[in-house]
């Protein structure tokens, strides 16, 4: 372990490490109890550095979404295009915070069938694409 690494510190790298192990982690403030997802060093409510890791239930509801036909280069590499759109969503977790994630297990070509407030659960999306590093992206699917 180098001096830049600390197993317990709330960093993006450690958040992503947890994600690769199939854990959606937030942070909970020891002072005011506020929960942030993704986990962050300073509580977003009282801005004190007293956050600790907390695992999320992975349950939530759709707050907003879109089916994207013209995607980012990253999603184009993942095989999405005009004929095969993907859904970007903002999910309101049962614990309160919102997160951005790909929504899978829905009919991307008929987005009118996807409804806001629909219950969803977390799905860890393993990325195995040639030319991209192996990793896990956060996803959700209908509960």
């Amino acid at each position: 372990m180098s001096e830049n690494e600390n197993e317990n510190e709330i960093t993006i790298n450690n958040y992503l490490k947890y994600l690769s192990e199939g854990k959606l982690m937030g942070s909970k403030c020891k002072i005011c109890g506020h929960v942030d997802v993704p986990a962050r060093k300073l509580c977003s409510k009282c801005i004190k550095p007293e956050n600790e890791w907390i695992e999320m239930s992975g349950k939530g509801k759709i707050a907003a979404f879109t089916s994207i036909n013209v995607g980012t280069p990253y999603f184009v590499k993942k095989g999405y295009d005009r004929k095969r759109p993907y859904v970007f969503s903002i999910i309101k977790l049962d614990e309160g915070p919102m997160v951005s994630a790909q929504l899978v297990g829905v009919d991307e070509s008929h987005p009118e069938t996807i409804k806001i407030e629909m219950p969803v659960k977390v799905k860890f999306l393993k990325v195995e694409v040639e030319g991209l590093p192996e990793k896990v992206d956060l996803g959700f699917e209908p509960a």
Binding site: N69, V70, T72
Partner: protein, 419 residues
């Protein structure tokens, strides 16, 4: 707090002809065109020696043109070296921010005259590069990796707005139809055609090729056809602003010297800037843009004006849903009620509250870093009564506003102008 120490006026303003112009017209050509057009509007003339600094608003020449350090480059083309030439970045609000900082500098007494430049030349990279560069204005760690594009973020706002207030696809279409009608009258706009014109042109093309003529009754039928494909549902091609090359130039002067340049200065009486988390999931609402609410609160307070006093406005319609949100978040209409005003055509040029007489970002074009300054150019022309073709509103504009957003609403600048 909240007051300017002395008055500041807009004494000249101009843009280049917006369009997709690379490689024929690049940064130097757009900028010098905008400069010359702005110089031509200064009644008693303006020379480089009159100007004490050049404040440049530019989002990302770094990604679009592989060119950093734009301030001194821009100023050298118009004889402004060795004066200060800082660059300001706030995504699509970059030149709104540059204008606000010039205003603050002049009000402080440090300088009397500043040239504000807004510029972006976006078509040097292919479409996928444009999508990628614009997506960097979102939260790259958590939104970009989830697939968010710039249209995608506004599309998410649209689904939330539709869910909460019953806003419809047709409501979005009405915004685009109105803005294209205005853009048709703007010789500096990228797309000088109404959607009806585009529909009729398409029908003529199909007829000419001997194809089956579509039975489109009106623009709505056309916009529901495959000619208007989805980009990020519910947003379609005609809900999105254009990818544009362009520049704008403004001259700001203190009350102590403004009369030297013109007998008819346009006073900037209110300015405000707000911010919000760039990741939309970190905000408390998805149906309003809090940076707009905050920026307008500051500008109203400074000017002593309210939403009802604003006669015309240029608002940041990077997507049709953004114009609807702006109309509400600026306090012109209650949340969920802007679509009624749009249906009544209140925001048409001959309506009670014209919005985006320039054609907006939708039809005039959206060279991102130039947009904030370009909005001020339209307000300058409308208040002077010199808007081209049939675009001039039919009443004397005493009080007007510009609203310039950055990214998905992480930054916002609101400015109030008075004669």
């Amino acid at each position: 707090m909240g007051k300017l120490a002395r008055k500041v006026a807009l004494v000249g303003a101009g843009t280049s002809k917006f369009g997709q112009t690379f490689p024929l017209r690049r940064i130097p050509e757009h900028w010098t065109d905008a400069w010359l057009n702005a110089v031509a509007t200064v009644d008693n003339g303006i020379e480089p020696k009159d100007i004490e600094a050049c404040y440049v608003g530019n989002y990302s020449a770094d990604l679009f043109n592989h060119q950093g350090h734009l301030g001194p480059m821009i100023s050298s083309l118009v004889g402004l070296n060795p004066k200060p030439a800082p660059r300001f970045e706030g995504a699509c609000a970059s030149s709104g921010i540059a204008m606000r900082q010039a205003l603050i500098t002049i009000a402080s007494g440090l300088m009397d005259v500043i040239c504000v430049s807004g510029i972006e030349v976006m078509t040097e990279v292919p479409t996928v590069g444009v999508t990628d560069a614009l997506a960097t204005a979102s939260d790259v760690s958590f939104e970009y990796t989830a697939g968010a594009t710039f249209p995608g973020l506004y599309a998410a706002i649209a689904t939330a707005h539709m869910h909460k207030y019953g806003t419809t696809h047709e409501d979005l279409m009405r915004v685009a139809i109105k803005n294209h009608i205005n853009g048709k009258e703007n010789p500096y706009a990228q797309m000088q055609r109404s959607i009806k014109d585009l529909m009729e042109r398409k029908i003529a093309k199909i007829k000419g090729a001997g194809g089956e003529v579509p039975d489109w009754k009106d623009e709505f039928d056309y916009l529901k056809s495959p000619s208007n494909p989805p980009i990020a549902w519910p947003l379609h091609l005609f809900d999105c602003s254009l990818v544009t090359d362009g520049a704008a130039c403004l001259f700001l002067a203190s009350e102590d010297v403004a009369k030297k340049f013109t007998d008819n200065p346009i006073w900037i009486t209110g300015t405000g800037q707000g911010s919000a988390a760039i990741a939309m999931h970190d905000r408390s609402t998805l149906t309003a843009l809090e940076a707009t609410v905050e920026a307008s609160r500051q500008a109203y307070q400074m000017s002593g004006r309210g939403p009802k006093d604003i006669q015309i406005a240029e608002v940041h319609d990077c997507f049709t849903i953004a114009e609807i949100c702006a109309m509400e978040d600026l306090g012109f209409y209650e949340k969920g009620k802007a679509v009624e005003a749009i249906k009544n055509k209140d925001t048409y040029r001959d309506g009670v509250k014209p919005i985006n007489t320039s054609g907006g970002l939708k039809s005039k074009g959206h060279p991102v870093g130039a947009t904030g300054a370009a909005q001020a150019v339209e307000i300058f022309k409308q208040m002077r009564g010199i808007a081209e073709r049939d675009r001039q509103v039919k009443f004397d504009v005493e009080i007007a506003m510009t609203h310039n957003l950055g990214g998905s609403g992480g930054s916002c600048v609101v400015t109030i102008y008075e004669k």
